[in-house]
């Protein structure tokens, strides 16, 4: 797949503080790219460099194969974490103004806005001032303004903060839809559950360095431990434990279940398959829960960051 955005050894210093240290990422076209990392890792600095708010001290950024230049602003839609709108301006007027700054004509901006406002059911806000709206309502407007000029690259920094679950879902669906229509999305967040749901690829920044990058699937495969979570129904628990321990390593497991099961995490060695385990178990007890333990993005995040800290 072609890479829409490439940063090559980008470094940025503020005085003596290094915000980014030779960070290189590749954002494949048409994907949702999760830019993850703990607070102060340098995510926002990197995003600002991509938006040409600050310049890198070293390294280069290319968009669509061209070195980043002022005219690229029109191809980028940016929803910053620190966000707001002009409070005393009317919704419609403000959206048109911001769209015009991104190079849309007034008529075109108006047309697209109408469509979006209908889609999000906020048409009757057109003549309201931002200060009359709730925070969530203003966030919706902000989202529309970010995507209105149909940029190739969308950058969302914590897009779901301030939204209730219903609206967060609405926005999530819209982001997926935009991706399916061909847009590339960079998505920065601390919320790992939304990373699971949305991201195709991720990069993990920690203390100014990139410590992990790749497709979420590959990373998960790399981090998985061949452990299976099982729930077994048996009359003789001690006997069953003895039989299992003769062949596999296991730990007690914790999960919710309707039955009073024996709950175990069973780890396989690399030459054993899940089928062998299942056959083995079903010949000794009734299996009513069988699940491969795949590391969550959250676990990978914490694990990697901790390891990096050592």
């Amino acid at each position: 797949m072609r890479d829409l955005l490439v940063t090559d050894s980008v470094s940025k210093k503020f005085g003596d503080f290094t915000a980014l240290n030779k960070v290189s990422i590749r954002v494949p076209e048409g994907s949702i790219f999760g830019l993850l990392g703990p607070n102060g890792a340098g995510k926002t600095t990197l995003i600002r460099i991509i938006n040409q708010i600050t310049m890198p001290d070293e390294g280069s950024v290319t968009l669509d194969g061209e070195p980043l230049a002022p005219h690229h602003i029109r191809q980028i839609g940016y929803l910053p974490e620190e966000r707001g709108l002009y409070k005393s301006m009317k919704v419609g007027e403000q959206a048109i103004y911001l769209a015009q700054l991104k190079g849309l004509s007034k008529a075109e901006a108006k047309k697209r806005l109408k469509t979006w406002f209908e889609k999000l059911e906020i048409g009757d806000w057109w003549n309201k001032k931002i200060q009359e709206l709730s925070k969530g309502m203003a966030q919706k407007i902000q989202f529309v303004v970010t995507v209105l000029h149909q940029p190739k690259l969308l950058i969302f920094d914590e897009p779901f903060s301030g939204f209730d679950p219903i609206n967060a879902n609405l926005i999530k669906d819209e982001i997926l839809k935009l991706r399916n229509e061909g847009a590339t999305v960079i998505f920065s967040t601390h919320r790992m559950e939304s990373v699971e749901e949305l991201c195709d690829d991720i990069a993990l920044l920690d203390r100014s360095n990139k410590i992990l990058e790749g497709s979420l699937l590959d990373i998960k495969k790399h981090y998985k431990t061949n452990t299976y979570e099982v729930g077994l129904v048996t009359s003789n628990e001690a006997e069953l434990r003895r039989i299992i321990s003769s062949r596999f390593k296991y730990d007690p497991a914790e999960f919710k279940s309707l039955n009073e099961d024996l709950k175990l995490n069973i780890k396989l060695s690399s030459n054993e398959t899940s089928n062998e385990l299942l056959n083995f178990l079903s010949s000794h007890a009734e299996v009513n829960h069988f699940n491969e333990l795949v590391p969550t993005a959250n676990e990978i995040f914490i694990q990697t960051v901790k390891r990096n800290a050592i």
């Binding site: 938006n51 040409q52 929803l79 620190e82 709108l85 911001l98």
Partner: protein, 437 residues
């Protein structure tokens, strides 16, 4: 439309549509004119009250010099003692009693003149009576010493030195006063404009930060375009307001004059009377002629063009300083430490203009200050009426505009860096450091 145009349009419309702005635009002239009307009404009330002054003159010299007017009557008493006269005044509720005791010598009479009244008498009234008495008594003494009053009057001489440059341009003292007045007016107007609208620009620059839209905006517009747009847009709004003030002010003034008849002008009646008196005497008539002449003598076209250009230039320069402050801080409370130094050069300019330019319009100090961008709008405008070569004016103007551009660039630099420094209060030292980023 390009970005600058868009920003200007937005800034202008937001300012002009702002409710507080609209209210102030309409209310300010109303309040000022209303106050004027109240003052006019009160002073009219005051002067229309008829006053009667009782005069007890034992010498009999003043009866012919005290002229009655509509608001001032005299009641002359005769063959009475001072105590009786005081009683009369009290019974009649008169304004006061002028008492002139008789003596052999004029100087004794002069010492013994007294005015009795319930309240402290008006200063103008006393002064006018004093001067009339003085003149009369002086004349009597001169006559006593055998001086012919008519001859004395006719031999009084007045001198007004006619000034002329080698090129044949006639000038006069009045010329210089006029020139100074022009420069002073320009300086004052600039001062007012900067104070009223400078803060508005500063607040407008902070707006993006307080409403947190800054990152969205700055990822679409270059800071220099944003700041330039804000300065121009706000200035246009300011000019709009000012023009409306002038128009509304004149309209209200006309309406007031219509309602109160000639009340508004009656305020200046004393001065007008003086002027009229003065006009009747031939020498002053000539002087009025010179005033008009000297207005024509001023390099008018040059002045008007220079006024517009230097006014705009000066205003933009100072605005850009306000914008720079706005760029450096996160909220308005942090602006205090920066605000004071801004107006100092302007005050200095007015001083240089008032003390140096009038003394020596083309001396070193005047010339240097008319080049320095922060003082040139005032000092150069004061110098121009005395004749300044066009090339000097052009250099000064270019310096002014150049400095303006530099300040905006500087401000935009601070602005960009300021985004990354949320919540950090900037010091001057910090600002210099920011420039290196």
């Amino acid at each position: 439309m390009n970005h600058l145009g868009l920003v200007i349009k937005r800034e202008y419309l937001t300012k002009v549509r702002n409710k507080a702005f609209i209210i102030m635009t309409i209310l300010s002239p109303l309040i000022i004119i209303g106050l004027l009307a109240v003052v006019a009404y009160l002073s009219q009330l005051n002067s229309s009250r008829e006053r009667t002054i009782t005069v007890l003159d034992e010498t009999g010299v003043v009866s012919d010099i005290l002229e009655e007017s509509e608001s001032l009557k005299y009641l002359f008493l005769e063959d009475m003692t001072l105590e009786e006269a005081k009683e009369v005044v009290k019974v009649n509720e008169n304004y006061g009693l002028l008492y002139i005791a008789d003596h052999d010598s004029i100087s004794e009479i002069a010492k013994q003149v007294k005015f009795f009244s319930e309240d402290t008498p008006s200063l103008t009234l006393i002064t006018s009576i004093e001067s009339k008495l003085e003149r009369k008594l002086t004349e009597i003494r001169l006559q006593q010493q055998g001086v012919d009053i008519d001859k004395l009057r006719s031999s009084q001489t007045k001198i007004d030195i006619g000034q002329e440059s080698f090129l044949g341009e006639k000038t006069s003292k009045i010329d210089n006063v006029l020139k100074l007045a022009f420069g002073g007016f320009a300086g004052y107007l600039l001062f007012m404009f900067i104070i009223i609208y400078g803060n508005m620009i500063m607040r407008s620059v902070i707006e993006e930060k307080t409403s947190r839209i800054i990152e969205v905006i700055i990822s679409s517009v270059k800071p220099i375009q944003l700041l330039m747009g804000k300065i121009i847009g706000t200035s246009l709004a300011g000019i709009t307001q000012f023009v409306i003030w002038v128009i509304l002010g004149s309209v209200f003034m006309a309406i007031m004059a219509g309602i109160f008849g000639l009340d508004m002008t009656s305020m200046q009646q004393p001065q007008q009377e003086l002027m009229q008196q003065a006009m009747e005497t031939p020498e002053v008539n000539i002087q009025a002629q010179t005033i008009i002449n000297s207005i024509y003598n001023l390099p008018l076209t040059n002045l008007i063009v220079a006024f517009i250009l230097f006014f705009i230039g000066g205003y933009l320069l100072y605005s850009s300083l306000y914008a720079a402050i706005g760029a450096a801080v996160d909220n308005e409370t942090d602006t205090q430490q920066f605000l004071m130094p801004i107006l100092i050069p302007l005050i200095l300019a007015v001083y240089v203009g008032a003390f140096t330019v009038i003394e020596d319009p083309h001396g070193t100090i005047s010339t240097v200050f008319s080049y320095i961008p922060f003082t040139s709008p005032v000092v150069m405008l004061m110098r121009i009426p005395f004749g300044v070569p066009i090339w000097q004016q052009l250099i000064s103007l270019l310096l002014l505009i150049g400095t303006f551009m530099f300040t905006v660039w500087f401000a935009s630099k601070i602005y960009r860096v300021g985004i990354l420094m949320y919540g950090k209060k900037p010091s001057y030292k910090e600002l210099i450091k920011w420039l290196k980023y």
